[in-house]
């Protein structure tokens, strides 16, 4: 019986009330001394432990959270064998390597979450840049006292016009211009919504008493502009020099 002392894992012999009758030396390296086995079990595992111990027949296995000298909650594989009223119970702590693996997985998870945040930040940055690019793709250039040039660059879409509309109208009014030249030489593609927004800005300028002209229309532009239900009543000119000759 005394050989129990030398078992390489925590071992306890219990009576029917789960009181500890004997234990291996290893038990007291790992756990504090306690009169009852349930005292070694974490409070939230106690119900599970009591239920598991109460079976009192044959061999049973379970996982329990136990209080050790090192940690108030450590996960153990517990197996018990009941024999003529005595319970023989072996407690083996879950492999540390598992905990290490869990830590690594956790690090990966965090890394993913961080990458996610970084991506989000980059996305916001790109959106901001796009906004600035759209503002820059519609500069307002004073040519003479009465004439200003607005060269358009990139894709003429709803966003480009909406974003710049107010600025163009205000600058035209503040500078007391009579002629506004929209240069399409730098325009790549048009969208239907973009054309509709452009038509409305032309109408607004005309209502303000300003004469807009359009320069440098290419075949693909013409297709879209012509397809729009309300036709633009403005001069279409082939180049800036023709336009300047007309306005100056």
């Amino acid at each position: 019986m005394s050989d129990i002392k030398f078992l390489p894992q925590p071992y306890f012999m219990l009576n029917r009330n789960f009181e500890i009758l004997a234990a291996s030396d290893k038990s007291y390296e790992v756990f504090e001394t306690a009169p009852n086995f349930l005292d070694l079990v974490d409070w939230e595992s106690r119900r599970k432990a009591a239920h598991f111990l109460a079976l009192k027949e044959g061999t049973k296995e379970s996982e329990l959270i136990m209080k050790t000298k090192e940690s108030p909650y450590a996960l153990f594989d517990v197996s018990i064998n009941w024999n003529s009223g005595d319970g023989h119970i072996l407690c083996i702590e879950k492999d540390h390597r598992l905990a290490e693996l869990e830590n690594i997985v956790e690090k990966h998870r965090l890394r993913l979450a961080e990458t996610n945040l970084e991506l989000l930040e980059k996305k916001e940055q790109v959106e901001q840049n796009l906004y600035e690019i759209k503002s820059l793709s519609c500069p307002f250039i004073k040519l003479t006292k009465t004439t200003a040039l607005v060269p358009l660059f990139g894709d003429l879409d709803d966003g480009m016009i909406r974003q710049n509309e107010e600025r163009i109208l205000n600058k035209t009014q503040d500078g007391h211009y009579d002629y506004l030249l929209f240069d399409f030489n730098g325009v790549r593609n048009l969208t239907e919504a973009g054309v509709a927004a452009f038509v409305s800005i032309i109408n607004e300028l005309q209502l303000m008493g300003i004469s807009p002209s359009i320069i440098g229309i290419k075949p693909n532009h013409a297709f879209y502009l012509n397809g729009h239900p309300s036709k633009l009543n403005v001069p279409f000119l082939s180049s800036l020099s023709t336009a300047l000759k007309k306005t100056i």
Partner: protein
Amino acid sequence: MQEYGKALSLLLLEGDQDAAWRLVDEISKSGKNSLYIYESVITGAMRHIGYLWETNEISVADEHLATSTSDFLLARYLFEKKKGQKSVSAKKAMFLCVESEQHYLGLKMTSQLFSEAGWDTRFHGPNLPLESVKKAAEEWKPDVICLSFSILYHAEHLGPYIGGLEKLPNRPTVIVGGRLVEKYDFSRHGTNRTIFMNNLEDVQKWLERHPPGVKSSVGY
């Protein structure tokens, strides 16, 4: 409603992300709101998984699989929910578990409720030491910091965390949650400014009273 939780728990234990997503998506499309999905379906499923561990039917390893599957499920749910929705992001909230605390699903659901309500959120997940929280909060200046813990022994961290964070220059509101908050009184760890929330329903109600668009409405 318990049936949904139980049905989901089986899929989570199998790690079947696709089937779990189909179930959640179906429930969502039947007209249930996020609070219902989080509280009744996902929390319900995880509670049932806890019950299965207690009755010796599954192991902790199975629980881990279920947790990571839920994690994925939550991320996908929020992604679908926020698609095309522009964030107001006038107010900011950060979310973290106190040191050593690994249970983060409840916190994640809370952060998602904030996000859906239009808050700008940062989810820092489990086990964040106080020094790291302070550093992150000093830089980002959140209006609200949500702390979570699920293991009783981790309640000892609440005092230092709450004290340290409420004293930050921008005076953030600290909200404490976790499954034990409903069962026990932890108010002695907090101050008169600290808010303790019992469950996700409390979170939802608080969010309705504190829309993110109005800067002054955070209860200091």
